[in-house]
């Protein structure tokens, strides 16, 4: 039966679906730049996102807390806020306060000492259990946010991928009116968001469709139109951030592989795998790979003469893309299969430095952009 369906699918659909994953070439040609970067000398256990703090410091979301870290190591890291669950996103507003997403508990608007100013757990009746990205609208005084899925917490994203859910939301939280609106539903795990051109449009990544979409805003409560600007990326796009000279930084948190694409269609196999095994043992994209003998191995990843080929089919990968104003890829930084700086969950430009959060390797990588001079 599955075979018949496959056949029909093959007959009806064009080439792009049969060969779904584009190869990485052109500006995406693999390099080792992410692997060679310096990293912050701080004791990090699970960094996930970061934003600028006061006085040149960084505010890093890791596990259930937000820490203030000074990039030069001059001050001891200090916890400024603790929450009941993991922090999945944070952003700093123009007035210096923060909006933080907490797994399963919606969003909190806090000041720099961690005092909660406002919080929200649901909008239009939908629980905001996995807010994945927050972006401030400087004109309206609120934040746009994305919810990855209404079915799972953000850290359980792999379940959402494997279930092929389209259960993400785009919303707007008015901090003044203390109310939130859902602007779009049925999204494929949106997980990156920026407000463009002073509030006239939004750019949003959708991980499970490997795409970036643009919403045009007209000032009303609903976005006017939606364009898919990039389709069929070779990885799962996540965190999106603005670059100082126009354009964006895109963190691709996991790679796509042919095997995973196949698994997603193999319902019976997938069901038994998910029922019988822990998620760490699945055939899946991951933020990091342990190399354990219990993890699945693909033919090309077999070690030969003591070498793990960097071009082997990846389980985890490190990739940051530099996009121009039209969301076209112009440059990229990689950590390949033989590297360690995998699972990039955020890449943010602060001052003239790019900070890259490798959640897979528990590190914050530092790239000086040298634009200041």
């Amino acid at each position: 039966m599955a075979a018949a369906k496959e056949l029909i699918r093959d007959l009806l659909s064009g080439d792009s679906r049969k060969h779904p994953i584009p190869s990485m070439d052109g500006p995406l040609s693999p390099n080792n730049r992410l692997e060679t970067l310096q990293h912050l000398d701080a004791d990090l256990d699970a960094p996930c996102d970061l934003c600028p703090g006061d006085g040149g410091s960084l505010l890093v979301a890791q596990d259930r807390r937000i820490e203030r870290i000074s990039p030069d190591g001059s001050e001891q890291p200090a916890v400024i806020a603790r929450f009941e669950a993991r922090v999945s996103a944070l952003t700093r507003l123009q007035d210096g306060t923060l909006v933080v997403a907490v797994n399963g508990a919606g969003m909190k608007h806090i000041d720099t000492d961690g005092r909660v100013i406002a919080e929200i757990e649901a909008a239009n009746g939908a629980a905001l259990r996995s807010v994945t990205a927050i972006a401030e609208d400087p004109k309206r005084g609120g934040v746009y946010f994305t919810v990855g899925s209404v079915h799972h917490d953000a850290e359980d994203w792999i379940w959402d991928l494997m279930e092929c859910n389209r259960a993400g939301l785009l919303g707007y939280w008015s901090l003044e009116a203390h109310s939130a609106d859902i602007l779009a539903t049925g999204l494929a795990f949106p997980s990156g968001l920026v407000v463009e051109d002073n509030g006239s449009s939004l750019l949003m990544t959708e991980s499970w469709t490997h795409s970036i979409a643009r919403y045009h805003l007209t000032g009303g409560s609903r976005p006017a139109a939606r364009d898919v600007v990039v389709d069929n990326m070779p990885g799962y796009p996540g965190h999106l951030a603005r670059a100082a000279d126009g354009g964006y930084w895109l963190a691709v948190f996991a790679p796509r592989t042919h095997l995973v694409e196949l698994i997603l269609r193999e319902k019976a196999f997938k069901r038994e795998m998910m029922r019988a095994l822990e998620p760490e043992l699945w055939i899946r994209p991951a933020l990091s790979s342990t190399g354990s003998h219990l993890e699945p191995l693909q033919m090309g990843a077999m070690k030969k003469l003591g070498i793990r080929k960097p071009w082997a089919p990846p389980r985890s990968y490190g990739l940051v893309m530099r996009l121009d104003g039209n969301a076209e890829v112009v440059d990229s930084l990689h950590s390949r299969v033989d590297g360690h700086n995998h699972g990039i969950t955020a890449a943010r430009e602060i001052g003239d430095t790019l900070y890259v959060v490798s959640k897979g390797n528990h590190r914050i990588l530092v790239q000086s952009l040298g634009r200041g001079e």
Partner: protein, 715 residues
């Protein structure tokens, strides 16, 4: 039995036999190619027998087979020309001219039948020689040359026919012999059919079993390669067209005797019809592929069809049109088949089956299981780093020198205090895998792709065996040993060795595990009788071999069955097999003796839990294999090193790990010698060794087999 068990059993049964594999095996056979045209022929005959009145009668059969045989002979001539990479368009004209000659010789000149026959065949040879001379020696194009001779011969025939056909028709010459070859029968079989059968058999033997036939096929397949191989293309092509002319002559002789007239339409359209015939029979227009049988099957189809249509009352033009359409289809199918046959076989070759290994044994570090993960191999000393590529097996001789086979086909020898001295001991030409020393210190090697070989201490290489008995009821000839993997030697000199699989080569050996069907063998070579015999069939990758310490049984690793087996060679259970360890946490590779009376077993790959799930989903594996590139397939966990220590009953005691395979991934072998354990890996760039604290430091592997002996003076 509940429903779930029933369903599971139904699933197992469904995947136990694979019709797809049967098809793949069948289509790999060259004799399968004419199967389709043969079926068409039988169906056509049945069809006309049922629809045309009086079709299935002896008289009609005799009459049909006479005309068919004449056409069949011409088709053989055409078929030979096609197989040599050319074409013979002049067959029809030759046929007409030779028909006229035979009639003239008999009717006008009054020569006896045997003389007429000789003259006709000689003339046929001469006419063919003209073609052959131009095509073979002057290198003209076969198509143009025979097109010209077609016109020339036809012209001559037309001229002569005008002059002589009247006289021939008026002639009253008669002879019993002439009459017999025309219309006589033996045992109700027409003479011409007998001749066709005899010639067909001779031709088939010559084509498929003789030097000339092989040369003909070689020239047809690739002229340049044939020349490089030293074949005289000129002579081969020349003789091909001579034989083609002779075939026409024999056909024409019988035609003449049967009809005794030379109408102007004689042989008209033969070129076209015989071309259609041989192509539909499966002889490729590209050359190098075909047989006499196929030419005759094709001729049968064309003949039966044209004749049947005429008998059903269709006009001649219709038959011609039908023949034309058939030719067009045949050419199309020929091109497509040539292009896609290999792919079709390849696509249906791998046929995964349902495999359930059982619950995965616990390997957690604190589990207390004999398979608990540790890092005892992580500190292994490295020998020959980057100087050895893929030492699948390692062995030490009496002097403590270390031998290893490599992927280049070499046997390397390391010597010196720290094995720093590396030398090339021998080149095998294949992929050396398992190693063992025999009583005379010869190094016996399983060379994948070649068979079982030996290397004397003076480095001369000798072959022991490369063939075993062919198994019954298997389409594929499996007598040739392909993936000889490991061996051990009994005290009586018998060599027990394994063949991993008969279906895959070494480059694709993990695919055998993906498929999960056993095709490996345990084989025994007896040097006393120089005979090779298969002992156990259908093993899911037969790998490491070890004589038990008491020499009563052979332990063999069933790699992709994830188990260790025992075959009894003596004692009450002689000839039977039993499972020793049924559910290993990984795929067992080589097994060797330990100094304490136990054994060492290498696990080349670990079972990832999801791999076990995949093995229970053959449909998923099938689609994975078909849809994904090779490098993307899920495989066994090769990036790991694990050795299991077994006790004297070959039961697991403890294990030695290199987690993640940091220095010993795909760990395939280990050999204990003088208190150390030496490690080899199929894909590794080093040999490792660890000191065994509680092992006998004076235990030498080859002395354990063959006793102590004063070391002979080395070369």
């Amino acid at each position: 039995m509940n429903t779930a068990t029933l369903l599971l059993n139904a699933k197992r049964a469904r995947y136990k036999w694979s019709p797809r594999q049967l098809f793949a095996d069948l289509f790999a056979k060259s004799w399968m190619e004419p199967a389709v045209p043969f079926t068409v022929l039988v169906v056509l005959i049945l069809f006309f027998a049922l629809t045309v009145p009086y079709y299935a009668t002896l008289y009609n059969a005799q009459s049909l087979s006479r005309s068919f045989s004449e056409f069949g002979l011409v088709s053989i001539g055409m078929g030979l020309a096609l197989m040599s990479g050319g074409i013979d368009l002049s067959v029809g004209s030759m046929f007409a001219l030779l028909d006229l000659l035979a009639l003239s010789a008999f009717s006008l000149w009054g020569l006896p039948m045997p003389v007429v026959a000789v003259i006709t065949v000689a003339a046929g040879a001469a006419l063919g020689a003209v073609n052959g001379f131009f095509i073979g020696f002057l290198r003209t194009r076969a198509f143009l040359t025979t097109l010209v001779t077609l016109i020339v011969y036809r012209g001559i025939f037309d001229l002569l026919a005008v002059a002589y056909s009247q006289d021939i028709a008026m002639s009253t010459t008669d002879s019993a012999a002439w009459e017999w070859i025309g219309n006589g029968t033996a045992l109700n079989i027409p003479a011409v059919v007998l001749v066709l059968l005899v010639l067909g058999v001779i031709g088939h033997v010559l084509l498929s079993r003789s030097r000339l036939g092989w040369h003909l096929i070689a020239v047809g397949a690739s002229r340049r390669s044939a020349r490089h191989a030293g074949i005289s293309i000129e002579k081969v092509l020349f003789s091909t067209y001579v034989v083609s002319g002779m075939c026409c002559a024999v056909g024409a002789l019988f035609f003449a005797a049967r009809l005794s007239s030379a109408g102007s339409a004689t042989g008209d359209g033969f070129a076209f019809e015989s071309l259609a015939a041989v192509m539909i029979g499966g002889i490729s227009i590209a050359g190098g592929r075909g047989s006499i049988g196929r030419a005759l099957i094709g001729a049968g189809i064309i003949f039966i069809l044209s004749n049947g249509l005429v008998q059903m009352g269709f006009a001649g033009q219709v038959t011609t049109a039908v023949n034309g359409a058939i030719l067009l289809i045949a050419i199309g199918v020929d091109v497509k088949w040539m292009k896609n046959r290999g792919k079709a076989i390849q696509k249906s070759y791998v046929n995964p089956t349902y495999v359930d290994f059982g619950p995965l044994p616990d390997t957690r570090p604190d589990s207390g299981s004999p398979y608990a993960v540790n890092d005892r191999l992580s500190s292994a000393e490295a020998i020959g780093v980057d100087q050895v590529e893929g030492p699948e097996d390692v062995i030490l001789d009496r002097e403590g020198r270390l031998y290893a086979g490599t992927r280049q086909g070499w046997i390397l020898r390391f010597s010196g205090e720290n094995f720093e001295h590396r030398e090339l001991f021998a080149r095998t030409g294949g992929r050396p895998l398992g190693l063992a020393f025999d009583r005379d210190d010869n190094l016996i090697v399983c060379v994948a792709g070649m068979g079982l070989y030996g290397i004397k201490p003076d480095r001369t290489i000798f072959k022991l065996t490369d063939e075993t008995n062919r198994s019954w009821f298997k389409l594929i000839d499996d007598s040739r040993l392909k993936l000889t993997d490991d061996l051990d030697i009994a005290p009586d000199g018998k060599i027990y060795f394994s063949e991993g699989t008969t279906r895959y080569d070494l480059a694709n050996w993990p695919v055998d595990g993906m498929e999960g069907r056993g095709s490996g063998r345990l084989v025994c070579y007896d040097p006393n009788t120089d005979s090779t015999r298969t002992l156990v069939h259908n093993i899911r990758f037969c790998n490491g071999i070890c004589m038990a310490h008491d020499n009563q049984s052979v332990l063999y690793a069933e790699t992709f069955g994830m188990r260790l087996m025992r075959y009894w060679v003596a004692g009450p259970k002689k000839g039977s097999t039993e499972v020793v360890i049924g559910n290993l946490p990984g795929a067992p590779d080589n097994i060797n003796r330990a100094s304490d009376g136990g054994y060492w077993l290498a696990l080349v790959a670990m079972r990832a839990p999801v791999y076990d799930v995949a093995m229970r989903h053959p449909g998923f594996r099938m689609r994975m294999i078909k849809r994904l590139p090779f490098d993307e397939w899920l495989i066994q966990g090769m990036n790991n090193g694990c050795i299991v220590k077994l006790d004297e009953h070959a039961q697991p005691v403890t294990s030695y790990w290199d987690p993640g395979g940091e220095s010993h991934a795909t760990l395939t072998s280990m050999r204990e010698d003088r208190g150390y354990l030496y490690l080899g890996g199929l894909e590794n760039n080093r040999i490792g060794r660890i000191k065994l604290e509680d092992a006998d430091p004076n235990w030498v592997s080859s002395e354990n087999y063959w006793g102590k002996r004063p070391v002979a003076a080395t070369e």
